[in-house]
Amino acid sequence: MAQITIKQVAKQFGKTHALHSIDLTVADKEFLVLLGASGCGKTTLLRIVAGLETATTGEVWIGDRRVDKLAPKDRGIAMVFQNYAVFPHLTVYENIAFGLRMSKVAESEIDKRVKRTAGLMHIDQLLQRYSGQLSGGQRQRVAVSRALATEPDVILMDEPLSNLDALLRMEMRTELKSILAESDTTTIYVTHDQVEAMSMADRIAIMHEGNIVQATSPVEVYRNPATRFVGSFIGNPPMNFLQAKNLGDGWFDVCGARMQGPRHDASELELAVRPEDINSTDSHGEGDWQGIVKVVEPLGSHLQVTCVVSDQQCRVVMDSDVIVKPGDTVNLAPVAERVRWYDANGDRVQ
């Protein structure tokens, strides 16, 4: 059982608050992705779990052990670093065997496990090479094998794929996901790449300026962003945000259209809707917007159309056989059940 529990962990570097009171639980065998923009504290949180950094306040538990006072080696974790950290003076074989030798595993068992994990990562041909003789992708594989070989309860990965080129990254993504799904480890995976996060995670924890703003399944994060920030951060093209004037009784004026929303006191809210959740229709219905097309970007499978609706920008995804050109007026019908509302603080209103 290797459930990770992070309790009110905060971290200050001098005057910088890198983390404000973080609470997070990662279930046994779960694949959790920490997603957030650069500088939001992902690495710091991961290093606190690893024991490479000490939290200013708070507790870290792995299973039923409190580990925040323990050295990294006593926590039952393995870590994969962004720049791989493959030991340059050791062969690939010895790199993978390193952790096993430290825990005094028998030589025959070491050999078995090195060969097995190397096979899993397809580097069994490279065992006698040194890190200097490997490509970035191969080094990455060594780093992952080295972490897997010790069969840790917890694997921590800090942007492991960010130094690889796009194609290799996609390939490794799939491979890593399947390998980690088969192993019994609990994984925390840090990335700033939302596609990586969405495609790999059981659960995504979105970080923003030292806080976790939402931690839930990829689909839920996408469909029901807890805050305006999450909505704007996830999704490409990004979510549309439009001003909504409160008319009372749960009715709003959005870009000249009367729309039903939540009952709320504020004079203004923001309506949020994803570009693919807006239909362009021929007939004008109640709650539809009139948009003027500014830019049309054909992307093969679909068109990405940027419109202006009452002086506000709104992106719409249209079928690629729709014929539109800049200057056209289009009728836009948002899908009612996909519309979300946010208040002035950026919190979701229901």
């Binding site: 690893a50 024991g51 490479l52 080696k73 670093f81 720049n83 950290a85 030991f87 003076h89 390193f98």
Partner: protein, 277 residues
């Protein structure tokens, strides 16, 4: 595009030539004295004093042989060797941990400390010599190999600290951290990962300390009487020796130092942040 880059304006040409001339001049500045020293060392005494000079030495080893058999040279050489080895060991033993600390930890006064380390080289030794001699006599360290080695260690230490600092800084922290997560404590990680990676550089730094001690003459002359090192011994006894012996003595001093410096030049460059190779 390509023509533009190949056209060399007059100014550039002058700049290029002045660089070339400076390089040649500097090389001659260093190489000519060394050549004369070596050439004269391997000439017979008669040739050394003769005029005009030959371009090539006659490879006569008489001066060298005479010099090596000169009374006191052997023991001075042996003293030099002992002092230099001690200096080497002590300066690494003290300097490497300091370099490691500088590269790995943030602490108050770190920058001040780094400047101070360098400042010790700026302090004039002659000013220090007399009080030091008095102090050494009091504690019984005067005229001993250990006493002189301590002074030489002080001289070599700034270099040991700075070279090892640059060595340790060149090893990514992640390697150490990876070792920690794989089951090492700090010491094990150092022994298994950091040490093998910096070993060649440590050796170079040690050799550099050796050379500093080997060549040091002032402290050696002031602090020793019976147990002179070679430079101090030569200073004292070669003053009115014949010319060919001076050359031989000079060569014995210079050649090992040259060889050593040549071996460690890569690390000296990286120490000053120029290039790594």
């Amino acid at each position: 595009m390509s023509t533009e880059s190949t056209v060399v304006t007059g100014n550039q040409r002058i700049a290029k030539w002045s660089v070339n001339i400076s390089i040649v001049f500097l090389c001659l500045w260093v190489l000519v004295p060394i050549y004369l020293l070596i050439a004269n060392t391997f000439s017979s005494p008669a040739e050394v004093n003769a005029f005009p000079k030959r371009i090539y030495p006659s490879f006569d080893t008489e001066s060298v042989r005479f010099f090596m058999n000169f009374y006191g040279v052997g023991s001075a050489l042996w003293n030099s060797f002992k002092v230099a080895c001690l200096t080497m060991i002590m300066s690494i033993a003290v300097g490497a941990p300091a370099g490691y600390a500088l590269s790995r930890f943030e602490f108050r006064g770190k920058n001040t400390f780094r400047v101070l380390v360098l400042m010790t080289r700026a302090f004039p030794l002659p000013l220090l010599a007399l009080p030091l001699a008095v102090m050494f006599i009091k504690v019984g360290l005067d005229d001993t190999v250990l006493g002189l080695a301590i002074v030489h260690t002080v001289l070599a230490l700034p270099f040991a600290v700075l070279i090892t600092f640059s060595l340790f800084s060149g090893v990514p922290v992640e390697l150490e951290e990876a070792a920690w997560t794989l089951g090492c404590n700090r010491l094990q990680a150092f022994i298994k990962v950091i040490f093998p990676l910096v070993l060649p550089g440590i050796a170079a730094s040690a050799i550099f300390a050796f050379v500093i001690s080997w060549n040091e003459v002032f402290a050696a002359a002031v602090l020793t009487i019976e147990h002179r090192t070679l430079p101090a011994f030569l200073l004292q006894s070669l003053d009115d020796a014949p010319l060919h012996l001076k050359f031989a003595g000079g060569a014995v001093l210079v050649v090992p130092a040259l060889i050593f410096i040549f071996m460690v030049r890569k690390y000296l460059f990286s120490m000053w942040g120029i290039a790594n190779r």
